[in-house]
Amino acid sequence: MIERKDVEHVARLTRLALTDAELERMREQLNSILAHLDTLRAVPTEGVEPTSHAVDLVNVMREDEVGPCLSQDNALANAPDRSGEFFRVPRIIEE
């Protein structure tokens, strides 16, 4: 069972500001879903290697050559806030 403090902790990690009512509802729903996910424990998987990916591909390399790419203006075009050639964010470092 996950408790209210676990839900609050995960919400902080994921950068979600949840209201009291949302936290409570989330706790109930996560517990109900996790109860189903816990059925996995019954599956014997000792010695079974994990599959991270359905296709057996290893690193895909390419030549280190400059090719076409997005222009700086295009890359910045959807920015909620920009300053010249930068994404602008709220102050991070205290003065």
């Binding site: 949840l18 996910l37 599956v43 359905a54 296709v55 997005l70 909620p80």
Partner: protein, 482 residues
């Protein structure tokens, strides 16, 4: 004028129909009927008319670009379209205008297709009903009180309702095959890696795959062929030649062995579905296929494994929505406060739930118990399919355990997740699968037959679907919308 793409292009070739007239007709139908269906989020009217005029020039001068030239097609709003708003069904991307095309979109434009617009979907492709779009729900053209399935519900409803000749969606746990079944159209999830995911807004990167919806299997083959193939911009894209899928279709099923998995006929499934699927198997037998029972015992654990892997990957992928580079920003007192306010305002309830679940499953102390375990279960699912495909050429099964349900009927998240119980194993193992209409429930709602194949064996999957389709007449039945 709503007819399969191969019939439209035959008519273009003969000069009996013009791409502009067809595009105008579809746009008029969208204008008249999409208020009821809600299949579209954005209609690309001017673009479509321009593209249709250019196509017409090519047909007139005898130089069409191929079998999709002038075909009116819709794409799910999860695929980036240069210069055209792409929302992914979320308020987070309400004003996002991609600076580039997804490879699928780029290939469609190059093939001369007429893009009609962007279709509705569950927010960030999380859902099985298209009720969880941040904009509006989509309605099933067969019964507007019912859902079209999801998450690619807009693309399925557009083809079923005559609002597009064909369309594309994405399938992470069944999001093409399940709505295809619910809407009575053909829908295919190709092998993982068969179609480039470049420009596809990511949900779960180890599972996502793009595929077509169509009015029949021939169009499905054409629509898949147009977008399949290696793309250096997607490192998971498979570098293997793309066969001519339509050329393989008429080969029939005589001599093929079809596996019938015990685990896909479960307690609680709709008896109409079991009846229709068993009848479909008799039809395939009558066409010369051999039927053999197979067992895929880990099927019953697939849903749980999927609901660990998907939220885990989604929570990582959706970390990019931080109010900095693109998408919504809600002002805050500092960076963390801005990010939290932005994400809380921009994401809907189901998205938040899965981000929370995924982050929890990946967090310190739980990683091995959940994510590690689910990845091992995934190996078991793959092994069981591989063992089955050593004995049989294809697997046939129902696409869904139930028919299209009513709006608001599945309030509990877990009961919604159960919709994908027959489609999820195909994603976990990466194999190709198609849903083809195989009848109607007593209430007159469509039922889908699922055909699954070996990795990269789309040609044989389509061949069996085609043989079945040609032996039956389900596709002649259409919903009455007007």
């Amino acid at each position: 004028m709503h007819r399969p793409i191969h019939e439209l292009t035959d008519a273009y070739r003969r000069g009996d129909l013009k791409p502009t007239a067809v595009a105008e007709d579809y746009l008029a139908r969208i204008g008249a009927l999409d208020g009821k269906v809600g299949a579209y989020l954005t209609v690309m009217r001017e673009h479509a008319l321009d593209a249709a005029r250019e196509s017409e020039q090519r047909w007139r001068s005898g130089s069409p670009r191929g079998p999709l030239d002038g075909a009116p097609i819709a794409v799910k709003d999860v695929l980036c379209t240069a210069g055209v708003r792409t929302t992914c069904g979320s308020k987070m991307l309400e004003r996002f205008v991609p600076p580039y095309d997804a490879t699928t979109v780029e290939r469609l434009r190059a093939a001369g297709a007429v893009l009609l617009g962007k279709t509705n979907m569950d927010e960030f492709a999380m859902g099985s009903s298209t009720e969880h779009s941040a904009y509006h729900p989509t309605h099933n053209p067969w019964d507007l009180t019912r859902v079209p399935g999801g998450s690619s519900g807009g693309s399925a409803a557009a083809v079923a309702g005559g609002l597009a000749a064909g369309s594309y969606g994405s399938d992470t746990g069944g999001s093409i095959r399940q709505p295809a079944a619910f809407c009575g159209v053909v829908g295919m999830k190709p092998t993982y890696g068969r179609v480039s995911r470049y420009g596809l807004i990511a949900l779960a990167s180890s599972l996502d795959q793009i595929g077509p919806f169509a009015q029949d299997v021939t169009d499905t083959a054409l629509l898949l062929g147009a977008v399949a193939g290696h793309d250096p911009r997607d490192s998971t894209s498979i570098d293997a030649p793309v066969p001519d899928y339509t050329a393989e279709l008429p080969k029939g099923v005589a001599g093929l062995t079809l596996g019938l998995p015990d685990e896909y006929f479960i307690d609680g499934m709709d008896p109409d579905i079991e009846r229709a699927v068993r009848q479909a198997i008799e039809v395939l037998k009558g066409l010369g296929a051999k039927i053999e029972r197979v067992s895929l015992p880990t099927t019953r654990h697939s849903l749980a494994a999927y609901y660990v892997i998907l939220p885990a990957e989604a929570s990582s992928n959706l970390a990019r929505y931080d109010g900095v580079k693109y998408g919504l920003r809600v002002a805050g007192r500092d960076l963390v406060d801005m990010e939290s306010r932005t994400r809380s305002a921009g994401f809907g309830a189901e998205v938040k739930r899965r981000i929370m679940l995924g982050t929890y499953a990946l967090s310190a102390g739980y990683y091995d118990a959940y994510y590690g375990k689910a990845q091992s279960v995934r190996t078991l699912v793959r092994r069981e399919f591989a063992a089955a495909f050593a004995k049989v050429d294809l697997i046939v099964a129902p696409t869904t355990p139930n028919i299209a349900f009513k709006h608001g009927e599945k309030e509990d998240p877990l009961s919604m997740y159960l919709n994908d119980v027959f489609t999820i194993p195909g994603n976990l193992s990466g194999i190709p699968g198609v849903s083809v209409p195989c009848g109607f429930s007593t209430a007159g709602l469509p039922i889908g037959l699922q055909v699954l194949g070996r990795p990269l064996d789309e040609a044989r999957v389509l061949r069996a679907a085609y043989a079945y389709e040609q032996a039956t007449s389900w596709r002649s039945r259409r919903p009455e919308l007007a």
